[in-house]
C-alpha cells in the first residue's frame, strides 16, 4: 500500500484524460448495471421457484382451463403432498393501463404451498376467509394505488358476471408480505369460490394446478404420473416443475438475453479499447520515468504491478461510479415500471459480476502497457549508450 500514493499521483497526472476515460468506463457500467437488472428482472421468477412445486396446465395452452375435478384426482396421485389451484382474472383498475396480476385462489392451500414465498398475518387470514368478497394484496400493489385494509375496490375483468356485468367488487382484507422480491408483491389474491360462482362462463374450472411433491427428487416421476392420469381425455395436461415452467415462459420473450449480451459485448469492447488506449498513452509518455524506477532498483515485476494497479484503480473508480449510478437509476424507475417489471431492482449478482468485470477490464486494459513497462530496457529507454 506504500505505493498507493505514487500510483494515485500517476493516475491523476493527466486529469482531463483520466477523467474522460473514467467517465467512459462509468457509462459502460451504468449500462452493465441497468441491463443486468433488466435481465435479472426477466429471469428472477425462475430463481425463486421452489424445487418441490409442480405446475399443471392445459396441454394446449396456459389460457385453457382445467376441470375442477382434477384437483381432487391429482391429490390422490402417489408422491403428491398437497394441491392448490388458481385462475387468471385479467382485470384492471379504472383504466386499461392499470393492469396487474390478480389470481383467484384457494386461501388455505395456496398460502400453505407458497409458505416459503409469502406470509399473511393470522388475523388478516381469518378476516379474509370470513369475507367472500375479500382479497389480499402485495405491498407493492398497496403502495401503487394507495389501497389499505378495509378498502372496497372495483375491478373490471375480462370475465362477465352472471348478470353480464364486468365490474367485480372486492374488499381488501390483508396485505401479505413476500419474502423474495418478485411478481408476487404487485399481485392480488381473492377467493376462487366467489369468482367461480359469479362468473358467466367456464364455471367449474380452474386455470392451473400447483402441486407440492413429497420428495423433490421424485418430481419428474410425479409429473409423468399426473399427465398419464389425464392422457387421452378431452382435457390433457402438461405438468412441469415451477422452475421449468417459468423458464419456458421467459424463453417466450425470445432473444432479450442474447440482445442484451450483444449490446453489453459491444459496449465493453469499446470501453476496453478506450481504457487500453489511455493506459498505453500513459505508459508511453512515462517510459523514461519507468526506466528511472528500475535504475533505483525497482524490479520488473513491481513496475508491471504498478501499471496494472493504476489501470485497475482507474477501472474501479469508473466502474463503481457507473454501478452506483445504475443502482440509483434502477431505484428511481422501479416504481414507474412496477406494472410490467415488478420488483425491479439491482440484484447482488449484478454488483458482484460488475466488480469482476471491472477488475477484468482494468487488467486487460493495463496488461499490454504493463508488459511494455516491465520489458523496458533501462539503457535504451534512457538513451544512455
Amino acid at each position: 500500500m506504500k505505493y498507493f500514493y505514487f500510483i494515485w499521483k500517476n493516475l491523476v497526472r493527466k486529469k482531463l484524460r483520466t477523467t474522460l476515460t473514467i467517465l467512459s468506463i462509468a457509462v459502460a457500467f451504468i449500462l452493465f448495471g441497468a441491463l443486468g437488472s433488466i435481465n435479472a428482472a426477466f429471469s428472477q421468477g425462475a430463481e425463486i421457484a421452489g424445487a418441490d412445486r409442480l405446475l399443471t396446465i392445459h396441454k394446449v395452452s396456459l389460457i385453457q382451463s382445467l376441470p375442477y375435478s382434477y384437483v381432487n384426482r391429482v391429490r390422490g396421485v402417489e408422491g403428491v403432498n398437497e394441491v392448490t389451484y388458481a385462475s387468471w382474472f385479467g382485470g384492471y383498475y379504472q383504466e386499461p393501463r392499470n393492469q396487474f396480476a390478480q389470481f383467484a385462489v384457494d386461501a388455505d392451500s395456496y398460502f400453505s404451498i407458497y409458505s416459503d414465498l409469502m406470509t399473511l398475518p393470522e388475523d388478516q387470514m381469518r378476516a379474509w376467509k370470513n369475507n367472500r368478497m375479500g382479497a389480499v394484496i402485495g405491498p407493492v400493489l398497496a403502495q401503487r394505488f394507495g389501497w389499505e385494509v378495509g378498502d372496497r375496490v372495483p375491478l373490471f375483468s375480462m370475465f362477465p358476471q352472471q348478470d353480464g356485468s364486468r365490474n367485480w367488487e372486492f374488499v381488501i382484507e390483508g396485505i401479505f408480505s413476500a419474502q423474495a422480491s418478485g411478481a408476487d408483491e404487485g399481485s392480488m389474491l381473492f377467493h376462487h369460490e366467489y369468482f367461480d360462482e359469479a362468473r358467466q362462463w367456464d364455471q367449474g374450472t380452474v386455470g392451473w394446478l400447483v402441486i407440492e411433491v413429497d420428495d423433490p427428487e421424485q418430481a419428474a416421476e410425479v409429473a409423468e404420473r399426473v399427465d398419464a392420469l389425464f392422457a387421452n381425455s378431452p382435457t390433457e395436461t402438461k405438468t412441469s416443475t415451477e422452475k421449468a415452467f417459468i423458464e419456458a415462459f421467459m424463453a417466450q420473450f425470445g432473444d432479450i438475453g442474447t440482445i442484451t449480451g450483444l449490446i453489453l459485448g459491444a459496449v465493453f469492447f469499446t470501453m476496453l479499447l478506450v481504457a487500453a488506449n489511455t493506459m498505453s498513452q500513459a505508459v508511453r509518455e512515462r517510459i523514461p520515468e519507468m526506466a528511472i524506477l528500475k535504475t533505483l532498483g525497482f524490479s520488473d515485476r513491481s513496475v508491471l504491478i504498478m501499471v496494472l494497479a493504476e489501470s485497475i484503480l482507474m477501472a474501479l473508480i469508473g466502474g463503481l461510479l457507473g454501478l452506483l449510478l445504475a443502482w440509483l437509476m434502477v431505484g428511481g424507475v422501479a416504481a414507474e415500471v412496477a406494472a410490467f417489471l415488478p420488483g425491479f431492482s439491482m440484484p447482488a449478482r449484478v454488483w458482484s459480476n460488475g466488480v469482476l468485470a471491472i477488475v477484468l477490464l482494468g487488467v486487460i486494459a493495463g496488461l499490454l502497457p504493463a508488459i511494455q513497462g516491465m520489458r523496458l530496457n533501462i539503457v535504451t529507454a534512457l538513451g544512455r549508450r
Binding site: 459502460a28 392445459h58 385453457q64 375480462m158 390433457e236 420473450f253 425470445g254 459496449v267 479499447l273
Partner: protein, 395 residues
C-alpha cells in the same frame, strides 16, 4: 495565402499524418461504430416490430369486440351479436353480403424451431370473409383450408419461426389433429405470425359453442367509421367497442415498442456520451502528438483558425467513418433478421424482422457527426491556443 488554402493545406497534412496515429484513431472509429451500431440495431428492432403491427391494421377496417376488452383474447361475442353487427349501416356490402369476418383467437403451444422451447402461438379461426376484409393475404405455398375440415394455413413468419409447420405435416393441438395445407403472406403484417383455420372447426375443437371473440368489418367508405361506431353504440342489443383496426393494432404494439424505445434511446445517449469521451481523448492525443507540427505551422504564418479546423475535420472524419462502418455492419447483419417475442398485449408471439430503415441509418450518421463535432471541439480550441514559442521547444 488565403484562409481557404490554409485550411486545405493544414487539413490535408493532418489527414495524411493520420496513419501515424493509427492506434488511437482506430479506437475513436471503433467506438463510434459500436455506438451507431447499437443505436441502429435496437431501434431497428422497435421499428420492425411496429411496422409488423401497423401493417396489419387498415384504416378502412373496423374491429368489434366486447366492450372493455383490452385485446381479442379477453373478448367474447355470441353468434347473434356477430350477425347483428354486420347488418348495421356503414359496413361495405359486396354481392349483397357484408364484407366481414367473425373470428376466434386462441393461443396454442408450439415449440420454436430454433430453441425447441414452447411458445404461445396465436391460432385464429376465421370465416371466408377474412380474405376480403384483409386484402393483402397471398398464398406462397399450398392452398386455402377447406371449410369444415381440420386444416391449417400458417403465416410466413410462423412457418419460419415455429417447428412442425411445413406443408403436409400434422399438428396435434389437444384432442384435434390439424394438417398444414398452406403458407401465406400478409404484407408483412402480424397475421404472418398466426395460424389460421376455419372458425367453425376452431369452435368445435375448443368447445366454444357458437361464440366468437371479434368481428372485423370492411367499411363502406372512409367516413363510414363514425357512422358505424355510432350505430353500434346506439343499438341496445349490442355491448361492444368499435375501433379502427389500425388504431387497435397500434394499441397492441404500444407497450412493447415503448419498452424497446424506452431502453433504446437512453442507451444510445449513454453510449454516445461514452464515445464522446473516447473521441475527446483521441483528439487531445492527436493535438499533443502534432504539437511541434502545429507550432511550426503557426510560426511560419498559418492562422489559428485553420489549425483548429483541421482538428475538428479530423475528428469529424473519424466519427463519420466509424458511423458508416457501424451502420453498414448493422445493415448487413441485422436487416431482415427475424425474431419473435411474446407481445404482452395479446399474450402471444409476434414474429417480426429487424427493419434497418433509411431513416434510422440517417439518424445513426447524425449521431456520429454529433459525436465527432463535440469530441473535436475542445481539442480544436486547444490546438488553436497552443503557445507557439513553448510548443516549439517541446520535444
Amino acid at each position: 495565402m488565403s484562409e481557404l488554402t490554409q485550411i486545405g493545406t493544414v487539413c490535408a497534412m493532418n489527414i495524411r499524418n493520420l496513419p501515424k496515429r493509427l492506434g488511437s484513431s482506430a479506437v475513436a472509429v471503433f467506438g463510434v461504430a459500436c455506438v451507431v451500431g447499437v443505436f441502429i440495431g435496437v431501434l431497428s428492432m422497435a421499428s420492425g416490430f411496429q411496422r409488423t403491427m401497423t401493417m396489419a391494421g387498415a384504416d378502412d377496417t373496423a374491429i368489434v369486440m366486447r366492450s372493455g376488452s383490452t385485446s381479442e383474447l379477453s373478448s367474447g361475442l355470441s353468434h347473434e351479436e356477430t350477425q347483428l353487427v354486420t347488418q348495421l349501416p356503414g359496413v361495405l356490402q359486396r354481392d349483397g353480403q357484408a364484407v366481414s369476418s367473425a373470428e376466434l383467437y386462441v393461443v396454442v403451444d408450439i415449440p420454436k424451431r430454433a430453441t425447441g422451447t414452447s411458445a404461445n402461438v396465436p391460432l385464429r379461426g376465421v370465416q371466408q370473409g377474412a380474405f376480403q376484409v384483409r386484402d393483402n393475404i397471398e398464398f406462397i405455398q399450398g392452398r386455402n383450408f377447406d371449410t369444415g375440415r381440420n386444416e391449417l394455413i400458417v403465416g410466413r413468419g410462423a412457418h419460419h419461426q415455429f417447428a412442425e409447420l411445413d406443408i403436409g405435416s400434422t399438428v396435434r393441438l389437444g384432442q384435434t389433429e390439424w394438417t398444414v395445407v398452406g403458407i401465406f403472406s400478409a404484407g408483412g403484417g402480424s397475421a404472418e405470425s398466426e395460424l389460421w383455420a376455419d372458425a367453425s372447426t376452431v369452435q368445435s375443437a375448443y368447445r366454444r359453442g357458437n361464440s366468437f371473440q371479434s368481428v372485423r368489418v370492411k367499411l363502406a367508405s372512409d367516413t363510414a367509421f363514425d357512422l358505424f361506431s355510432a350505430e353500434v353504440a346506439d343499438d341496445p342489443r349490442l355491448d361492444m367497442d368499435v375501433k379502427r383496426e389500425s388504431d387497435y393494432m397500434a394499441e397492441q404494439a404500444e407497450p412493447l415498442s415503448l419498452f424497446i424505445k424506452a431502453i433504446g434511446y437512453p442507451l444510445a445517449v449513454l453510449m454516445s456520451l461514452g464515445a464522446i469521451f473516447g473521441a475527446i481523448n483521441t483528439m487531445y492525443a492527436s493535438v499533443s502528438a502534432r504539437t511541434r507540427e502545429i507550432a511550426t505551422l503557426r510560426a511560419i504564418g498559418f492562422g489559428a483558425f485553420p489549425v483548429a479546423l483541421s482538428t475538428l475535420v479530423e475528428s469529424l472524419l473519424l466519427a463519420v467513418v466509424g458511423g458508416l462502418i457501424g451502420a453498414l455492419v448493422v445493415f448487413l447483419v441485422f436487416n431482415g433478421y427475424t425474431v419473435s417475442t411474446i407481445n404482452s398485449a395479446s399474450f402471444s408471439q409476434v414474429v417480426f424482422d429487424f427493419a434497418v430503415t433509411a431513416d434510422l441509418l440517417i439518424q445513426g450518421i447524425i449521431a456520429a457527426v454529433v459525436i465527432g463535432l463535440v469530441g473535436g471541439f475542445f481539442p480544436a480550441v486547444r490546438a488553436a491556443r497552443l503557445p507557439v514559442a513553448t510548443a516549439l521547444r517541446e520535444t
